[in-house]
Amino acid sequence: MRRLLAAVALLAVGALPALAQPTRLTVGQTFMAASADPAEGNAGWALTSHGVGETLFTVNAEGQVTGQLAEAIQREGDGSWIVTLRSGRRFADGAPMTTADVAASLGRTSEKNAAARASVGRMTLATLDERRVRITSERPTPVMAAVLAEWPFVVYRLAPNPVFSGPYMVENLRPGDGLSLQPNPHFPGAANRAPVALKRFPDAQTMAVALEAGELDLAFNLPAEALPRLKSRSAVTVKSFLVGYQYMMVMNTRRDHLADARVRRAIDLGINRAQLVQAVQGGEPATGAFARGLPFALAEARPFDATAANRLLDDAGWRRGTDGRRSKDGKALDLVLVAYPQRADLVTFQPVLRAQLAALGIGIQTRVVDNAGAVGTAGDFDLLLWAQHTAPAGDPGFFLNAMFRTGGGNNYAGFSSAIIDAQLDRLAETGDLAARAALAAEIQRQVFAAAPVSFLMTPAWHVGLGPRLAQYEPWGSDYYVVRADLLPR
């Protein structure tokens, strides 16, 4: 009955041309904003992903950092940066965006949210005139545009709740359940946009059923196992795209068996990445630390060479016994391989890797933990399967530093190389993008040689689309899902 009434009401509204607006789109996702204030937690990330918040700079579909609210950025002699705003931008309440808004909002976030201080420390902003803001950071950076493209730096206006400038605005937010978005009337092209209902699904298999039931126009990040069934439905279009969350295997260099680089390289060479791709039904073998297509990614897939791997292990003194298993000085080459269930693909990898490494004579014991970060930091593993977005803000520096610098925050391998540290120092001073890409390539090759980490594959995510959104093209992992070009047919 209620539905009937709603239908009648919709028809009545639709009959008035002045009020005609495309009907609501329903989008299913596995994550959503917990709050509408970028100063709280990781709300900035979700708000940008939902098409609500905008940052001064952003990462485009090609993985390049480009201006969004900002037009230009320039480095000053004293290490500070001057950002020039685009003109004519307005917030969703119609107020024009001023440099004072930019300075006030980014300053507030930097002050209140520790997440905003992770890359360069505290930021100080000063307005210079109507278009220009000076930004000074506690720790200097050669690539401030990439820092400003990070998710915490959403620009907003306090009135007194945050008001944003993206193509959509939040109508209401139901924590953990979903949120309703309305087109922002002050964003160009608002008349073509439909209201969006965002629905959170904690379980991806459930989301696939909801799409199959016709309850969703867009389902973001579906399980590969559901694809054959969904593809057989004429109303559903499935699109797969490579995402930045690289799958890798960290090798604990502090462990006796893995202290020898030859053993680590043998393991790296002995992994058949094509099989891993096959096991999770999507994605591509890794070429290095970054997803193919990014400006600083390498072109060639990592090699698989069992013969060379066996030779390296022989050279390192690990001899095969009669049962085919390797040992040295009476100790077997047995390793513990850890994965975590939050990334289901990594758990699927475990048996496949176990079989592949068994072929090299390495014994593998698998273990699943729910707090992989703590296990990694404590070094309580031999091999750790890990998924991480390696270029979240369109720059290679963040990941390489965190993972490979001596004492880096994600350096779970306990790895230390004077050469790589020196290369990273140079990277920290290089502002030119082409030079940064070349340096990133150099560092990756150095990492291949020492093999503290074996890059496994670049996963693909799968997006299911109903008839009204069949032309939607996904890109940018989970950073940009609801975008200005989400237009219903």
């Binding site: 399980p223 196992e225 079989a355 698998t366 729910d370």
Partner: protein, 278 residues
């Protein structure tokens, strides 16, 4: 008769699982990506899973873990419950209050929440899941045992035994335990299979399940995505659990009340056991 059927089912399963675990027809870790979702053939009696591993061998090797974990949880729950409940029934007032409060506390929290907390603290394994479930059950059993024991202790023959100087432990063993055990058994019958399910539920909620050490609950979780395209993967561990639970149920459940004449014939009805208040 029912008990015999139950024991036969359990015995056959134990035999099959032991044979399968000692002499698995196939290596349970052998991945064969060219033979995914393979059908039944002489090498793979029940076919292969999504990674081409032999389903029967995994089922057999997982059986012991599921059965032992169930036994562990049940033992923990029952012994903990007996200690708490009997202890509270015979102990002096001060100790009784402490024991009852402990039982209360364990019984208060939802079992799944206790299990999640225990797993988060001790890591995910069949044993920690069993520990969580056993702990939760100990509280419930304890309160139940105390209720039954307290009413038994009021009987004249127990008071007489006390007057004759029989020790509290002796009283508990000779008079209270026989009154308590049948009710416990019935409770167990309807409770035992939950451990395997809880294990699957925890895996489903993201508390990990190691496919390197299969067991029935974890297999259900691992194969759940194939519910629609290869239901056999879910069906076989499901059937294994069904027979296990059925066997336990038939063995433990006391025989159904003797057939009564319908009321309209006004025959006296046997007094059903009175349930404890809590």
């Amino acid at each position: 008769m029912r008990q015999l059927t139950g024991l036969v089912i359990l015995g056959l399963m134990a035999l099959l699982v032991t044979a399968g675990a000692l002499l698995p027809p196939q290596d349970i870790h052998a991945v064969d990506l060219l033979n995914r979702h393979g059908g039944s053939d002489p090498l793979h009696w029940l076919g292969t899973d999504h990674l081409g591993r032999d389903l029967f061998s995994r089922l057999a090797s997982g059986g012991w873990r599921a059965m032992l974990a169930t036994a562990f949880a049940v033992m923990l729950g029952v012994s903990g419950g007996l200690v708490l409940g009997l202890g509270a029934a015979v102990a002096p007032a001060g100790l009784r209050a402490v024991l009852l409060r402990a039982a209360d506390m364990l019984a208060l929290l939802p079992e799944l929440v206790v299990a999640i907390l225990v797993v988060a603290i001790f890591g995910f394994s069949p044993w920690s899941v069993a520990l969580g479930i056993g702990l939760g059950a100990a509280g419930t059993y304890g309160l139940m045992v105390h209720g039954l024991a307290a009413s038994t202790l009021g009987h004249p023959f127990v008071l007489a035994a006390q007057a004759l100087g029989v020790s509290p432990v002796g009283i508990a063993r000779r008079h209270v335990l026989p009154a308590v055990l049948p009710a416990l058994r019935s409770y167990l019958a309807s409770h035992a299979g939950q451990i395997v399910m809880q294990y699957a539920a925890l895996a489903f909620l993201g508390f990990g399940a190691d496919s390197g050490a299969p067991d029935w609950g974890a297999m259900l979780y691992e194969y759940r995505f194939h519910l629609f395209d290869d239901p056999a993967l879910v069906l076989w561990p499901g059937l294994a659990i069904l027979f296990f639970v059925l066997g336990l149920y038939l063995t433990l459940e006391p025989d159904a009340a003797p057939r009564r004449a319908p009321l309209r014939h006004r025959a006296p009805v046997p007094l059903a056991p009175r349930l404890p208040a809590e």
